[in-house]
Each structure stands twice: as C-alpha cells, then as structure tokens.
Amino acid sequence: MSTTETTEEQEEVVHDDHDHPSDAKYFQIAIILGVLTALEVATYYVDIGPALIPTLMVMMVVKFFMVAAWFMHLRFDNSLFTKFFVSGLVLAVAVYVIALSTFEFWSKG
C-alpha cells in the first residue's frame, strides 16, 4: 500500500472528516439562512426603491456561498473541489452574462 509519494499537489490535502462543524453550528447557519430569506421576502412587501435589486443580489450571493461553504463543506475540504465548482460557476456567469448582453437584456430587460 501507501505508494502515494508526496508531490506538490499532494501536500495540501487529506483533511479528515474530523474537523467538520458541530450540529449546533449547522443550526446556526440555518437560522441565518432563514433570516436572510425572511428579509428577501420582506422586500416584496416593503418598497426600498432602487436599492431593491442590489440588496436582493447581495443576500442571494451570501446565502449561496453559505450553503456551499458550510453544508457542502467547501470550507473544510480539498481546494480542488472548490476550484471545480467555482470554475463552473464563474464560467457560467461570465458566458451567460455576455450572451444576455448581446440581447441587450440589461438595458431593455
């Protein structure tokens, strides 16, 4: 066994599952997520004018990354996983934002 020789890529790895957060931490995250959702929904009832879309986007992004970082363990896991996921994400956002621009989506909606 144990033929895995140490190379540059190998050093950073092999975090074990032991440093996973506790259940209490998960509940905490869920509460924050819930509150953020409530705030998001509140914007439907309270008029905040031009701040609406930026506010929604910020809250969305925060929720998004909280789930990815904590529930999907990206914070604790091999950075390779983050790289794959973020590549997909960034590529998707970039490509489709450009495509939507050619439809003049941002100016005309």
Binding site: T3, T4, T7, E9, V95, T102, F103
Partner: protein, 653 residues
C-alpha cells in the same frame, strides 16, 4: 494472469438472479468488457465505421456538385446528406476517434491500471453507439435531419422541417452528449486521481495534458448543447414556443446556445490531435518537445479563450456592432496560443535527426495543413471580410483545412504510431507513406479549390448551380480530389488487413518499435490486460526515454539500456482488475427505445425506460469487483472503488 481474465465462460454465482460475466472470449467478452483498452478499441472501430459512412455521404455531395445542374441527389436528399455528413463526421467519427485514443492511452501514460470508473466507461461507449444508431435510423424512418449540422432555428421547426429528421437530430445528439459528459468526468477524475507515484502534473505527457483540457471543455460545454437540444426537442415534440417568431420566440437564442457549445467543441476536436502530434514529433525528431511548459500552458489558454469567441459564428446574424467588434478582437487573440504551438513543433523538429516514418508524415501534415486553415480562419476573424465569406465555400474550405487537415491527419498519425502498442504488430510503413501522400494530394485538390469557389461567390449548402458562373472547373477538380481521399482511406484499410494477415503466426513486434519517450511503451506490445506488471515510479518527464538514455562523462547522450531491459514483460500474475458487466450495454440499449418512443409512439418509452431502470438497479447491486473473482488475501473491495460507479446510490451490496 488473474482469475478475472482467464476464466473462460459465464459462471453462475449466487449474487442474484443473473450470472455475472467473467472475462471470457469472443463477442461476449466485448459486450461486457470494462477494460479501458478494449473500450478504446471499440470506440476506434465504431468511429472508423462512421468515418466511412460520413465519407460516403461526402462523396455523394461531391458527385452531385461535380457538374452544373447535378442530378445525383434531389434538393431534399441533398439537404439530408450534407447535414448527416457534418453530424456524422463531427459527433460520430472525430469525437469518438479521439475518445478511442483517450481511453486507450491515458491510463497507460499516467501509469494506471484502468480508468477511475470502469463500468461507467463501458456505459459511455454503449450510449455513444446508441446515439449513433438513433441518428442513422432516421434514414429508414422517414428521412434524415436536414437542417444543417448546426440546426439553426426556426429552420428546424416543424413548419420548415416537417419530417421526423430533426427529432432524430435532437434526440440522437442528446444521447451521444450524455456519453461524452460521462466519459469526460470519468477521464478527468482518472487523470487527476490515478497518476503513478511521482507522476506530477508537469511530468505528464503533452498528450495527456491536451486530453485533460479536452475533457474539461467537454464537462462544461456538453450541458450547453444539452439545453439547446432540449429546447429544440420540446419545441418539436410538445409544441414549446422557444423558437416561434410569431409569438416572440428568438432564433438568436439557439445560435448563442449552439455556438457557446460549438466553439469549445472545435477545440474539443483539435486538442487531442495536437496532443497526438506532440508525442509523435519529438519521437521522430529524437529530441524532447521544445518548450514543454509553453505547450501545456498554450493548451490551457486555448481552453480558456475558446469560451470567449463563440459569436464570431454570428457576425451576420444581427447581434449589433459592439458585439461584433468585441468578438472579432477576441477571435484574433486566440490565434496567439495556437501560433505558439505551431512554432514549438517546428522548433522541436529544428536540428533533430528527423525520421520520416508514416506517423511523422501525418504529423507534419497537421502542422502544415492546420496552419493554412488557421490563416484563413484569421481572415474571417476580421468581421467585414467575414461578411463576404460567410456561407460561401470559402468557409467550407477553411473548416475542412482545420478539421480534416488538423484533426483527421493527426488521428491517422496516432493510428500509425500506436498501432503496434495496441495490436502487437506494425502497419506497413511503405503503404503508410502512400496512404499519406495520396491523402495529402487528394485533400488539397478537394478543399484548396473551394477557397476560390467561395471567393467567386458560390454559396455553401446549395444542391446545384447553373453553368456560366465559372464554377465548373474547380468543382470538378474538387470532386476528383475527393475520390483520391477515398482511395487513401482504402489504402489504409488494405494496410490494416494485409499487415494483420502478415502478422498472423508471427511473434509480436517487440517492445519500443519507435524509440519512444512516454510511459505507455514501458508495457509490452500488445498491452497485457493488467497494463503494468509493477506500477512504475516516475522521476521525470519522458520517463521511458530517461530509462533508456543517460549522459556520458562528456555530457553526450548515450544509450544506457536496451528496450528489452527497460520494458516489462507482462508476466505479472494475480493483478486485481474490475470485473466485466452486462449492465452498461443493457442500460444503453434502452435509450433508442425512449428516443423512438418520443418521436413515434410514447408506449415505446415504457420498455426503454424499464431497461434503463432495471440496469441502474442491477448495477447498484453488482459490486465493481466480483467477490468470487478476488484472490482472498485482501478484503478491501468495499473501498473507494466499490461504490465507484454508483456515486449517487446506496452501498447496498
């Protein structure tokens, strides 16, 4: 040898109601195999078959266009033939032929025994084949696709394309796409996760690197065409309004989705060929590749930039001046990393003791022909020029120089180069040289004149032209050339047959026929089922070469070991290998039923769906490693590999 591979027949065992295949011989072995080498061969055979089919379609096109007012094919048939020619060549010939090389060579080049998910690998092949069959069934089930290989909306809607052809296009390509996606994930994990000790990323051969970039492009590009094809299928089958201009559907949406996939696809096609010739050129120049890291990084750069140029296919589609200018620029930039590669290959050859064997001839063919195609490509990066060129034969000339000159020549280089690795005997080099020269002449006669025709104004995708426009001469030349290409392919086939007959009864060709450089040649020819007797420990780039050569006290390179001393003899026994399985082919065989069901009669989807579901559950209950085929002295089959193919399922073993 292992029990896994020597036991000859199907053996009953108590796992359930079925008997699990064990190695064996003959057709049963081929349909149940999970060996990456056999799967590679299957891909190769299927791809060459479809290459001939697509070639026959090409000859029909050329016959029709040989003289003015051609009568070989009617207009409707012409549309079907050129559409299926393009679709077949790209999705059923070029891509799977690359997959053949990827499957066979990647594990060997990184020092592994198989891919990460052997059964998934088999599944990918069978699904690909199912997709190819679905596409070609259209010929006998009411007409082939006729909307061109990029299927522009709304031309592909029911109104303009009432036969079922475009349904076959949407569903058939969807199926082959699933196969590509699975296989790309599989190979990505294989390359990242299964390298031999010491095989760092920057000791991997350029071929493996280019394949890694290719797989990543597939991972991210296949879902885009999947969505495009879903939208098309839902529009045609269920009446969705995506591309119906009457109610606000937008034809440009299809174009964007198709080309967001389509341009990366171009690199998906070409990078494997670049990888192949990056192995061939150093070997036959007897020099290490010039600028290894430049080679790798330019490949990565191409992979990235390939995502930012797609709208150059849409310069005349009305995307607005800013978009046109931006994409025009980005397209010109992408020529840079490609140019880097060309220069590196030339620098590798420079000052080398070049030996022009058949593989090298084809590789040099790539460098020269691809450069011509690349240069005409730059001319249509300039959007005003493209406005004149687009949809003419100039474009057809351009993309055949890159596709045929760049890809097909490269794949032939690979076939000649690795033939002894795969089959244990060489192809005749003399015949191979004939093969090359006839193909080169035929290729240039066929596609060179198309530049002229295009600039003269001959439109692409027309089924006939009237006399008097000055098109006659060059069309005739082109048709003659296309038959020379056909002749060259026939020469190849003859070479294969004759070489195999000559080799029968003879000992294998022996190790290392080319004085090669990378790890796959460490194994004997043909490669034994278990690949490596001993997983090698890698110390440098070009590991195999460094085991054969050293330097003397004056710093001159000298041979320190013969190939026989360095190569393994393939005699290892008891190597543990994944067991064969029926379920990949069962799974895949359900898909044509589902596709035909969606097109003709929904009831047909029931048996199709049942086959798929049955295969999935049977698959889960079948451990990757047949417990009865194990040797008992280690009990770790339930480890990472056991659940390997069942990623998303219960370990209910």
């Amino acid at each position: 040898m292992t029990e896994t591979t020597t036991v000859d027949d199907v053996v009953t065992q108590p796992l359930g109601v079925y008997t699990r295949p064990r190695g064996g011989t003959g057709w049963r072995d081929w349909i149940t195999t999970v060996d990456h080498k056999k799967i590679g061969i299957l891909y190769g055979v299927a791809a060459l078959f479809f290459f001939v089919v697509g070639g026959i379609e090409a000859l029909l096109i050329r016959l029709q266009l040989a003289t003015p007012n051609g009568t070989v094919l009617g207009a409707d048939m012409y549309n079907q033939v050129f559409t299926m020619h393009g679709v077949t060549m790209i999705f059923l010939a070029a891509m799977p032929l690359s997959a053949a090389f990827a499957n066979y060579l990647i594990p060997l080049q990184i020092g592994a025994r198989d891919v990460a998910f052997p059964r998934l690998n088999a599944l990918s092949f069978w699904i690909f084949l199912a997709g190819g069959i679905v596409l070609n069934l259209s010929w006998v089930l009411g007409g082939a696709p006729d909307g061109g290989w990029f299927g522009y909306a709304p031309n592909t809607g029911i109104v303009f394309s009432p036969s079922a052809g475009m349904d076959f296009y949407a569903l058939g390509l969807q199926i082959t796409g699933v196969a590509s996606l699975m296989s790309s994930i599989n190979l990505t994990v294989t390359i990242l996760n299964m390298r031999a000790p010491g095989m760092t990323l920057f000791r991997m051969p350029v071929f493996t690197w280019m394949m890694l970039v290719t797989q990543l492009l597939l991972v991210f590009a296949m879902p885009v065409i999947a969505v495009a094809l879903f939208l098309l299928a839902f529009s045609r089958l269920f009446g969705a309004k995506f591309f119906d201009p009457a109610v606000g559907g937008d034809a440009l949406l299809w174009q964007h989705l198709f080309w967001i996939f389509g341009h990366p696809e171009v690199y998906i096609l070409i990078l494997p060929s670049f990888g192949i010739i990056s192995e061939v050129i150093p070997t036959f120049s007897r020099k290490p590749i010039f600028g290894y890291s430049f080679m790798v990084f330019s490949g990565i750069a191409i992979g990235f930039m390939g995502w930012g140029v797609w709208a150059h296919h849409m310069f005349v589609s009305g995307i607005g001046p800013i978009s046109v200018a931006a994409f025009s620029l980005s397209t010109m930039f992408i020529a840079v990393p490609t140019g880097v590669k060309i220069l590196n290959w030339m620098a590798t050859m420079w000052g080398g003791r070049i030996k022009f064997s058949a593989p090298m001839l084809f590789a040099v063919g790539v460098v020269s022909m691809f450069t011509i195609g690349g240069l005409s490509g730059v001319t249509h990066a300039i959007s005003p020029a493209d406005t004149q060129q687009t949809d003419t034969y100039y474009i057809v000339a351009h993309f055949h120089y890159v596709i045929f000159g760049g890809i097909i020549f490269g794949l032939f280089a690979g076939l000649y180069f690795w033939w002894p690795k795969v089959f244990g005997h060489m192809l005749s080099d003399l015949v191979g040289k004939w093969n090359f020269w006839v193909m080169l002449v035929g290729f240039n006669l066929t596609f060179g004149p198309m530049h002229v025709l295009g600039l003269q104004g001959m439109s692409r995708r027309i089924d006939s032209y009237s006399p008097g426009f000055g098109f006659e001469l060059w069309n005739m030349v082109s048709t003659v050339g296309s038959f020379l290409i056909a002749l060259s392919v026939a020469i190849f086939v003859i070479n294969v047959i004759v070489s195999a007959m000559k080799a029968r009864g003879q000992a294998p060709c022996g190790p290392d026929p080319w004085d090669a450089r990378s790890l796959e040649w460490l194994t004997p020819n043909p490669t034994p089922v278990h690949n490596f007797d001993e997983i090698p420990v890698v110390e440098s780039l070009d590991e195999f070469w460094h085991r054969k050569y050293g330097t003397d006290e004056d710093g001159r390179i000298v041979r320190v070991a013969s190939a026989e001393e360095v190569c393994e003899d393939g005699s290892a026994v008891g190597v543990h290998l994944p067991s064969p399985s029926f379920w990949p082919i069962v799974f895949a065989s359900g898909l044509p039923f589902i596709a035909l069901g969606l097109i003709f009669n929904l009831w047909l989807t029931v048996p199709g769906g049942l086959l798929v579901v049955m295969a999935i559950y049977a698959w889960i209950f079948e451990p990757v490693d047949d417990p009865d085929a194990a040797h008992g002295d280690h009990d770790d089959h339930g480890g990472d590999e056991a659940a390997a193919d069942t990623t998303e399922e219960a370990p209910v073993v």
